[in-house]
Symmetry: C2
Subunit: 247 residues, 2 copies
């Protein structure tokens, strides 16, 4: 597999960057590929624990259940393997990885580092429009009131994403998503507790207040406590659902 140096490149007839701009402007083209649909389907199913940790997956079975062939399904699997949520042993099988507390700890570190840094950047902005964040807080209250955990989950995500958007580093939030799924599975286990949701909303409020006040240090403390809340419930959850955890 030696690389033939210049032969990778194919001579371009027109200017290289031209078509990309068109692709992002003209929205008619990118009808979602089958592989993407399958990935979204599987990723959300794993994140929501509809496919529990440790479950065996069969490419052929999954393919016929989703009414696709193995080819796009495998491309989705490849992306899931990249995240570390799925492992595949050749000629043996594919399975959803168990929750490894080390992975969770690594993900917590990444999230905490990026989120506190983004918050600091957001606080440094001369104007900070927190109205969208206030709306999301109200939405979270409504979800809590009617007991809609899925909707709360979404609003929770949206609030944190909005902080990155204000900071100007939304790209950092996006690249964090695959790794964050390790945290999401743990959070999904802990969410059913009603007082947990209430505590989360209180913390969200404190974070938004700190951002509005430009209190970088205070916000940082709230964010760290927030990020570690789920982490702290890990031992209890492992005791309650031992079959979902590794080691």
């Amino acid at each position: 597999m030696a690389v033939c140096h210049d032969s990778f490149v194919k001579p371009d007839r027109d200017r290289p960057g031209a078509s990309r701009v068109l692709a992002s402007v003209g929205r008619t083209r990118p009808r979602q590929r089958t592989s993407d649909r399958v990935y979204e389907e599987l990723a959300s199913a794993i994140r929501d624990l509809r496919i529990p940790p440790g479950a065996s997956l069969s490419e052929t079975e999954l393919a016929e259940q989703l009414h696709v062939s193995r080819t796009p399904l495998r491309e989705a699997i490849v992306r899931l393997v990249e995240t570390g949520l799925v492992s595949v042993v050749p000629q043996v099988g594919t399975r959803v990885e168990l929750i490894r507390l080390d992975d969770v700890e690594q993900a917590r570190f990444v999230r905490e580092s990026l989120e506190t840094a983004a918050f600091a950047e957001a606080c440094a902005k001369p104007v900070r429009d927190v109205s969208a964040l206030r709306d999301l807080l109200a939405e979270q209250e409504r979800c809590h009131a009617r007991g809609d955990i899925d909707a709360f989950f979404a609003a929770d995500e949206a609030l944190h994403e909005q902080i990155f958007a204000i900071s100007g580093y939304l790209g950092a939030w996006q690249v964090m998503q695959p790794m964050k799924m390790h945290l999401d599975r743990l959070r999904r286990l802990s969410l059913p507790e009603p007082h947990t949701v209430q505590a989360l909303i209180a913390e969200h409020t404190a974070i938004v207040d700190a951002l509005e006040a430009g209190d970088a240090a205070g916000g940082r403390e709230h964010l760290i406590r927030h990020a570690r809340r789920v982490q702290n419930t890990a031992p209890a959850l492992q005791a309650q659902y031992p079959e979902y955890f590794s080691s």
Copy 2:
């Protein structure tokens, strides 16, 4: 594409987590898949600019050049698309993305945030063995002396990775790799300047010194300056190689 709730799961005969431990212990099994080799080959070629930004790729041509079929090649392409370095438009073509300064800025933010956080964690360790770091500094001097840019590149990477290893958050370094390739391409453009390498080594030395002294604040400053050094050369590089840049 509705999800049939329980039907994803296949009944397990034995305990779910058992085989994974075996797979990581017994090293005979995982002979590298073709898809992985192809990915490594393409990723390094793109990172080293052997495949320049904006180059068109043809699945069929690449497949026959690498002596593989399109199937494993496409799986490698999927992973490259995930990193944002390659874009593929159905029925039109696949190309290596141009260097977008916004992507570079997002990557710089992620790297700076994680690296300063990891450095702080490393400084908090009661014992910090910097001997491996000293060895890498010496190695970098040797590479600089004999003008081996590729080897210097590798030793540079190894030093930063070692800092994460000391901090206990090596996983954070690993998940950062795909995004970091955006920075690597820019760095590759700037490396040929001899004084650049010398300046990098000096900064590396300062960083290691700070870690040995447990000087978290000082190390942070050096790391930030270090991360932004390449970033600062971006305008000049864009002027020199305009065909490699977007917008």
